[in-house]
Symmetry: C2
DNA sequence: TCCATTAACGCAAATTATTTGCTTTTAGCG
DNA sequence: CGCTAAAAGCAAATAATTTGCGTTAATGGA
């Protein structure tokens, strides 16, 4: 299950990794994911299959590895001038990305892998984006809820519905934001969680 | 991707399915899930591998199929005499089951499958259990929140955290229940969601 | 009850994927 | 610049998956 951590960062090793990642993305665009195999990826990347087997072990791990890179936020949350606006806009965009076919597939890939490190990374990405919005709100002197409250109140319901079969409507998403902002000003912060082992 | 729907319900076909399901459960108990293969399951079940390939297509679909059966609730929510008590007890038990190694593996199996019908089933199971608690509350004349509010406020945060790396503490779980019950009596019901296509 | 129909199964051969032992290349470092 | 070992390539061995075809038996109608 070791993926791209603790490997030689330079030269050929990095080139191979990039080439394999590109090959995966390219193949996923042009064909059904059920037909993507490791020998196929290897051919597309110009690498021998055993290299992929030794580095990623299974297709699932490689797909998770590629997916988490694509899920990494590539821009700052839009600054609308208010905490509510920032959170609303960010949430709507997040929901749209995640509920698209590609977003759902990537999430599935990340969750399907044996190694849950990639899932943790995705959670961290989301928290970072919300933290940026929160910081901005505090700089403006606005109140903003705890990150955990936003994760529970906004992110979790959206992701749950996407994973378990219903896509949330835009009205519901706005509602979630409204409720978490309303609750924030009337409830004390909540206790923290414990990290999971396996 | 057709799993066990629209197949001949009687005799041999049903026997084979039961035998394969049992074989999967038995093997998952005695060995690492990464080492469970279709030929192995076939041998344990006393069937030929091609039968499994033709019926389930991939190991992932079979695992999802078995997992969803194990996730089906096998008893009514405990009646504690009050809506709050019922929901608290049910939630704590649900959280415990889902965050155990077996529960997480089963959820992973269900979500990893191409076919999301099994995931929808799991969602439906959960909603049914909550609906039973809600019905009981109404029979007693107690107010009870909308099922969707409980899914968003209690179930989704628990599942999100289990999937994305943190196990919720019992205090947080109680908090979620408290909040959804508090909100229920002060907020109007929310609009419904739209089903997902793919 | 018996027969016709056909879905589902079993078997085995063909194909494809995965693992493994060994050799070659090259990144990292003194 | 040369050493060392991690990572890659290659090819043979093993294992999984697909497929064609004959057999079994569930279902439905006479």
């Amino acid at each position: 299950m070791p993926a791209k951590e603790n490997l030689r960062p330079g030269g050929r090793s990095a080139r191979v990794q990039a080439s394999v990642h590109n090959a995966v993305q390219s193949l996923l665009k042009s064909m059904d994911r059920a037909d993507v195999t490791i020998p196929l990826i290897a051919a597309e990347a110009g690498v021998t299959p055993s290299t992929i087997y030794r580095r990623w072990g299974e297709l699932q791990e490689l797909l998770a590895d590629v997916a988490v890179e694509r899920l990494r936020p590539d821009m700052l949350p839009i600054d609308t001038g208010s905490a509510r606006g920032d959170l609303e806009v960010w949430t709507e965009q997040y929901c749209e990305e995640m509920s698209s076919g590609i977003g759902r597939d990537m999430m599935r890939d990340v969750l399907a892998a044996q190694d849950n490190a990639n899932a943790c990374k995705c959670d961290a990405f989301t928290r970072e984006q919300i933290a940026l919005i929160a910081d901005r709100a505090r700089d403006r002197g606005e109140y903003f809820p705890d990150i955990d409250a936003v994760m529970d109140g906004v992110v979790a319901p959206i992701i749950y519905r996407i994973l378990f079969g219903e896509m949330p409507s835009i009205e519901r998403v706005r509602d979630l934001v409204t409720n978490v902002l309303a609750a924030a000003s009337t409830r004390p912060p909540r206790p923290a969680s414990a990290p999971i082992s396996g």
